[in-house]
Symmetry: C2
Subunit: 417 residues, 2 copies
């Protein structure tokens, strides 16, 4: 029996999973490598950070997802090196030889070299950060109720979110609702007139990738919830007692959430590979490296140009790229040709709190409650296959009817590995 | 207006909450102090550790529980000192003067001076430990799939539980089921013939507080699940590669779960107060200190003798003690007398896995599926008022029908405070 071709996939995000799924019935041996034992449904991460969902509602063990894919082996390990010439991946757990490699390693928070921001702010890219942010936010209210120092109290009760892309907008909307409707019942010693949420955006409007009208609607919706929006200001520095804007204005705060940008995650060096903006790897129209056609790059890690711009770092781009690469590998093994990759934009959406979302599907712009129902429908659709779908629904329904946030636990889990 | 009498309650466990609830409509100002912001439903903690329940299913913010008790103030702080003579509690957050003090500080794991056990084993008393244990157990399977060293692999796949009281029995039963029915589907590289669960008990039988017949039934049930039970052996030492029994026998293991004993938690010194076995504080028939009648002690922290023995460290004892103290304080404020405290044993129970439990209600002994349904019913009854009740039911039902453990996430939350 001939040895099966080996496919190694780096990353079990939306892209990596799509590749593995499309290779399920192909005669290959697949190894799916990720540093975590779970796949994370990133679009809902801000809901864990704001105490609306349990981690298990948006994270699921990769092994469980791949249970029925008998040719897929799952490896929980850090990738330390990729040797393109010898077609070999070195990980903390094992060395893996490959015939095809798919780099689907996603992205990490981009601090743009701002060391203060790196040290004194919290990102919103992984589950550990979301849980830390949830605990931190609640701790601020606990501590604010104890201090008689007015300046310290204002600092504890000011929450700054940097970057008004979907993550920044969704998180600040969720936190504003938490502060307006839920926390006053629990923290009776806190004067909620002193609490403020500030959303800071360097550009001229929030949700810049959406149509201007939707930006305006989202702005109004956030403002109604009490979010202060600062436009045209970048963050010059962050320190332990607050942040300084590019204008020199100062915001005293104990909480800076940094969603101002992401860059491709590159835990390893790729010798001689061309890198584009934000650390993304340049690829051919077939999503592979020019120098190594057996190496594919998808999702946030790939710099793929279409219609004069790099594709955005969004789940649908990763999923379509992963599906394409899975099919392309299968075609190549059959000796067939594969067409070039083409991303089909099926629309984008962002929620701005309970009962309000903006959605942009081609020329159609939707907002308000209808947008919100579409948002829920689409996200539940994506969550198909998750046990968590039912739990997420229960949590949402609860939140909707009782204006409550169920998961307000300050837990410091002991580290372990 | 006269100053309201001040009641300070240390600990928001079953006992502390019962005191506060019974003082809701009494003319007093109550401060409830706990180091965590949540009340933990400890009897189900082993289910978090075995990946069956989310933390939020068994933990709920104290502030939310006390939302409608307008005379109860909640303080999240560590208690550092109690000054009995000046009637004052010092905490990390504030100093609190009291007219009545209730010590309901519960218990912690007792390592009986065994430093190796303290360093190299995991307790099962708080949420952080349960989450660490869940991650550790799954990591052992991840690592076992990667090593070709047979000795290291056996060590990773051997799970030792020390102490066969309800917690040890319930946890080993749950882990055995996880190993038998769920993990083989995920860890296809692991030879499950190499996996073993060992339950070690110094006494002559497991569940020693139950009737001998129920012990025998529980023993048979655990053995059918594959748990090896070692009786009449204590643990002499624990180190990083395993443990040594009192007989000199050695068990190589990477996982030692220590449920061999608890002792009263005493984060502060009480000058001149008499201490009984396991650090428990001696009390009068009215649950107060002989020297300070305004200071009550309840639950695990109290050494209350009834029928020639100290009351066991169980939730019902704490709840009945808390109710009694709440009513006694109210009576004293009215100038009335309160009768002595008397604990009514309404029965004890322990589950030994899916579909099997033992229950002892006075002269009635119940086991098997009926015992299990009673167990579920009683625990759901206790969980009343928890949002988690519905979620716990969903999780249980899922587990029952699909033999699955939903929460198998290895999460290392970033520490924060």
């Amino acid at each position: 029996m001939a040895r099966l071709p080996r496919v190694v996939i780096l990353g079990a995000g939306f892209g990596g999973l799509a590749v593995a799924r499309n290779l399920r019935h192909v005669e290959v041996g697949v190894t799916l490598v990720d540093r975590n034992n779970y796949h994370l449904f990133q679009p809902l991460l801000y809901q864990v950070a704001s105490g609306l969902l349990d981690p298990s509602a948006i994270a699921r063990p990769v092994r469980t997802i791949m249970r029925r894919a008998h040719n897929v082996d799952v490896l929980r390990a850090e990738v330390t090196d990729v040797d393109l010439d010898n077609r070999r991946v070195i990980t903390s757990g094992a060395a893996l030889d490959y015939d095809y490699l798919v780099i689907a390693s996603g992205s990490v928070t981009n601090y743009f070299g701002n060391d203060g921001a790196r040290t004194h702010s919290i990102g919103l890219k992984d589950l550990g950060e979301a849980l830390a942010l949830r605990s931190h936010l609640l701790s601020c209210f606990e501590r604010a109720g104890l201090t008689s120092d007015a300046i310290a109290r204002r600092r504890l009760l000011t929450f700054a979110v940097v970057g008004a892309g979907p993550t920044g907008v969704e998180y600040s909307g969720a936190v504003a609702e938490l502060i307006k409707h839920v926390l006053p019942k629990d923290y009776r010693r806190v004067d909620f007139g002193e609490v403020s949420v500030v959303l800071i955006e360097a550009g001229g409007r929030i949700l810049a990738t959406f149509a201007p009208r939707l930006s305006r609607l989202a702005t109004r919706s956030l403002q109604r919830k009490g979010v202060r929006i600062v436009l045209g200001e970048s963050v010059r520095s962050v320190d332990e007692s607050g942040l300084t804007l590019s204008s020199g204005d100062r915001i005293e705060t104990a909480t800076v959430v940094w969603t101002a940008g992401v860059r491709a995650a590159a835990p390893f060096d790729l010798d001689g590979v061309a890198i584009a903006r934000d650390g993304r790897i340049k690829v051919t129209p077939s999503l592979n490296l020019t120098t190594h056609p057996e190496v594919f790059v998808i999702g946030d890690a790939a710099a793929f140009e279409q219609a004069g711009a790099l594709l955005p770092m969004l789940a649908p781009v990763a999923i379509q790229g992963g599906t394409y690469v899975g099919k392309t590998i299968a075609a190549r093994l059959r000796g067939a040709d594969a067409p070039a990759f083409h991303y089909r934009d099926k629309g984008t959406m962002a929620t701005v709190g309970r009962g309000a979302a903006v959605a942009q599907i081609g020329p159609v712009h939707i907002n308000g409650l209808i947008g919100w129902f579409i948002w829920i429908f689409v996200h539940l659709l994506y969550l198909v296959g998750f046990r968590s779908r039912s739990l997420a629904l229960v949590s949402w329904a609860w939140n909707y009817f009782f204006w409550d946030r169920p998961v307000r636990l300050i837990v410091t889990a002991s580290a372990d590995d």
